[in-house]
């Protein structure tokens, strides 16, 4: 174990995928939009989160339902639990949240505890004018098993950091559901430290909000860890959803599997997916695969998709990525319609099928049906308009 730790220390080389972080806000200049990490983001719509907008709002209330054995408590700035995942702010907003968060929580699952039902934390926004910042650290003890659902609803301007410490041999699923009202702005940073032989699944569901930008990163504290990052998003007219992922293979024999799928519909619906994977010299025998698929339902949408794989050792088991953006397939629609199925229903089926493998992989029964229903409700929003377009085209 120490040998690995030493190796990790030695191998902390510069990587173009991974700018060095800093806790000092002044080390992160105010972005102009020309920077690589900001070039896709509509800064003007961030309500100053990236500059100096005060973060002292209290417009996001938290309610939680924590099964027995799970401890949820407030912590003060400076508490050693903060940063215990190895999280170092990698941009100005994350650094600002580090210092200015109005609420800081620790969610702790003791070692060897199997929590049967999910811990559900609902964050309800009531105010977009005053930006709010929160910092949560989820610590799952050695060999524990837990699912934590973070659900974001209402209207807010929120910047938050979520850290996850996955103990050795633990199995942790964190589900984040952005089900905001249309006027919410949410910039989130999530970082996980995955222990030896531990499994971490991160599920990021994005349906609501004006601008949602999530920076999700994971690294490994020891060999044998597995990370699965799953994402499902559905962007409507005007919405900007941005998912920036970084898996840092810092230990040997680790695995990562990333699958994000999204649908876009309506004028200026914009999604961004950046999938960065770094395989460090020490990370021999690892396996990684990352994939992003977008289904563009109408004209006027844009899906940006950029996978990056940086490999510093040849001794790996497998590494690959795939990225594809497509429209409804005319042949599929024709096939279904030739069996009497209406155009609307055919589109519904294809979309349902598009997300189905992903929903099965998410495998959190408590949210599965809800996800399917929301996907269908989102599609229904546009079907009436789509109908008009289809009829004109005939």
């Amino acid at each position: 174990m120490t040998a690995v730790a030493d190796a990790l220390e030695m191998e902390r080389v510069e990587s173009h995928l991974h700018p060095e972080g800093s806790f000092d806000v002044d080390d992160h200049e105010v972005p102009t939009g020309r920077e690589e990490i900001w070039r896709f983001t509509p800064l003007k719509r961030l309500r100053g989160l990236h500059r100096d907008a005060p973060l002292d709002g209290s417009g996001v209330g938290a309610e939680y339902d924590a099964p027995e054995g799970v401890v949820v408590e407030r912590v003060e700035a400076g508490s050693p639990v903060l940063g215990s995942s190895g999280f170092v702010p990698n941009d100005r907003i994350a650094a600002r949240v580090w210092h200015e968060a109005g609420e800081r929580y620790a969610v702790t699952i003791p070692a060897d505890t199997e929590v049967e039902r999910p811990v559900v934390i609902t964050l309800t926004g009531t105010d977009t004018e005053h930006a709010t910042a929160t910092h949560v650290v989820i610590t799952a003890g050695v060999h524990s098993r837990v699912t934590v659902v973070l659900r974001f609803v209402g209207s807010a301007t929120l910047a938050d950091n979520v850290e996850v410490v996955v103990g050795d041999g633990a199995e942790v699923t964190v589900v984040s559901i952005d089900d905001w009202a249309d006027d919410a702005v949410h910039v989130g940073h999530r970082h996980a430290m995955v222990g030896r032989d531990a499994r971490f699944k991160h599920v990021d569901v994005t349906f609501g909000g004006d601008v949602v930008r999530h920076d999700t990163t994971a690294e490994y504290a020891g060999p044998g860890g597995e990370v699965e990052m799953l994402g499902l998003y559905f962007a409507d007219a005007g919405q900007h959803f941005e998912h920036r992922l970084f898996v840092d293979h810092t230990a040997p024999k680790t695995k990562s599997h990333v699958l994000y799928k999204g649908a876009l519909q309506g004028d200026r619906a914009h999604t961004v997916w950046i999938g960065n994977v770094l395989i460090r010299k020490a990370a021999e025998g690892i396996e990684t695969y990352e994939e992003n698929r977008n289904l563009v339902l109408t004209d006027g949408c844009q899906a940006d998709s950029v996978p990056n794989l940086e490999i510093e050792t040849g001794e790996i088991k497998g590494a690959g990525h795939a990225s594809a953006t497509a429209r409804f397939d005319d042949e599929q629609l024709f096939y279904l319609r030739s069996r009497g199925i209406s155009d609307d229903e055919a589109r519904r089926l294809v979309l349902h099928g598009f997300f189905e493998d992903l929903i099965r992989r998410i495998a959190v029964p408590e949210i599965e049906d809800g996800l399917r229903k929301t996907v269908e409700a989102e599609l229904a929003k546009n079907l009436i308009e789509a109908d008009v377009v289809v009829e004109e085209a005939v």
Binding site: D330, S338, I341, L349
Partner: protein, 260 residues
């Protein structure tokens, strides 16, 4: 009594190449299929057989430039693709399309509901699906697989015929359902088609390249299809003649006509 009436049908295909635009494939097809009749269309590759099938079904790639298609007097060409199916037309495709993530069970139930205008009764429906799959030698677990995804060539064709039996249209167009099948699969598929056409009031348009399937599904009429038109017509004996002589003389005649 059902009548599918195709009159002097001219069809162009929208080519992928934007500049060259459209290419005429069907050059005046006239054909009447009455219920109780099985018509075989036989022709060489590229003669336009699939184009005819797709045009009847309403595939958006094909443009009808003139002529008419009616089903019991109703104009088929102004119907949408799904309206045609609900009116009683069915196309078993030469290349069935994969629909990932949509199970066969869900697909069949959705199609049946659309065709009937109401959801099928659950108890009898499950039994009907299992029977249809079983008769086509498909395992019940088949219903949980995604539509056509990862199916073998034979499974795709048998799945098409299972749909034919479950949706039970008035007129079925079968586009090279026999190609790519070994002899056992061919017999299974032919039995399915025969079960379908033994019912009252069913018409079949059987498109094929080979005479082999006609040993199991005996046609009432045979049409030789060459260069986008019907070049010759007759009874089952015409199929035997084609078996012996091939399409050569028709292809040469069509080429000569095109030059002249």
């Amino acid at each position: 009594m059902t009548v599918l009436d195709i009159k002097d049908l001219h069809v162009s295909v929208k080519t992928d190449d934007e500049t060259s635009g459209e290419k005429e494939i069907l050059r005046g097809v006239t054909l009447t299929i009455r219920s109780g009749e099985t018509h075989a269309i036989m022709g060489p590759n590229g003669s336009g057989k699939s184009t005819l099938a797709y045009s009847i079904a309403g595939h958006p790639k094909y443009k009808i430039t003139s002529g008419s298609v009616t089903l019991d007097g109703q104009d088929v060409l102004t119907m949408t693709v799904d309206q045609r199916a609900r009116a009683g037309l069915f196309l078993a495709m030469q290349y069935p399309v994969e629909v990932p993530g949509v199970s066969v069970a869900n697909f069949l139930r959705t199609a049946k509901t659309a065709i009937d205008g109401e959801a099928p009764k659950l108890r009898t429906w499950v039994k009907d699906v299992n029977t249809a799959l079983d008769q086509l030698n498909l395992d019940p677990s088949f219903a949980q697989r995604s539509v056509n995804e990862g199916f073998s060539g034979g499974e795709k064709k048998r799945h098409e015929i299972a749909q034919l039996e479950l949706l039970n249209p008035r007129v079925a167009v079968l586009d090279e359902t026999d190609s790519g099948l070994d002899i056992d699969a061919l017999k299974i598929v032919a039995e399915g088609v025969n079960r379908f056409r033994r019912q009252e009031d069913k018409g079949v348009l059987l498109i094929t390249h080979y005479t082999r399937i006609l040993r199991y599904i005996e046609p009432d009429f045979v049409h030789v299809f060459v260069a986008g038109r019907i070049a010759d017509e007759g009874g089952p004996e015409l199929a035997e003649q084609l078996e012996a002589e091939g399409y050569d003389k028709y292809v040469k005649a069509a080429a000569a006509a095109a030059v002249g």
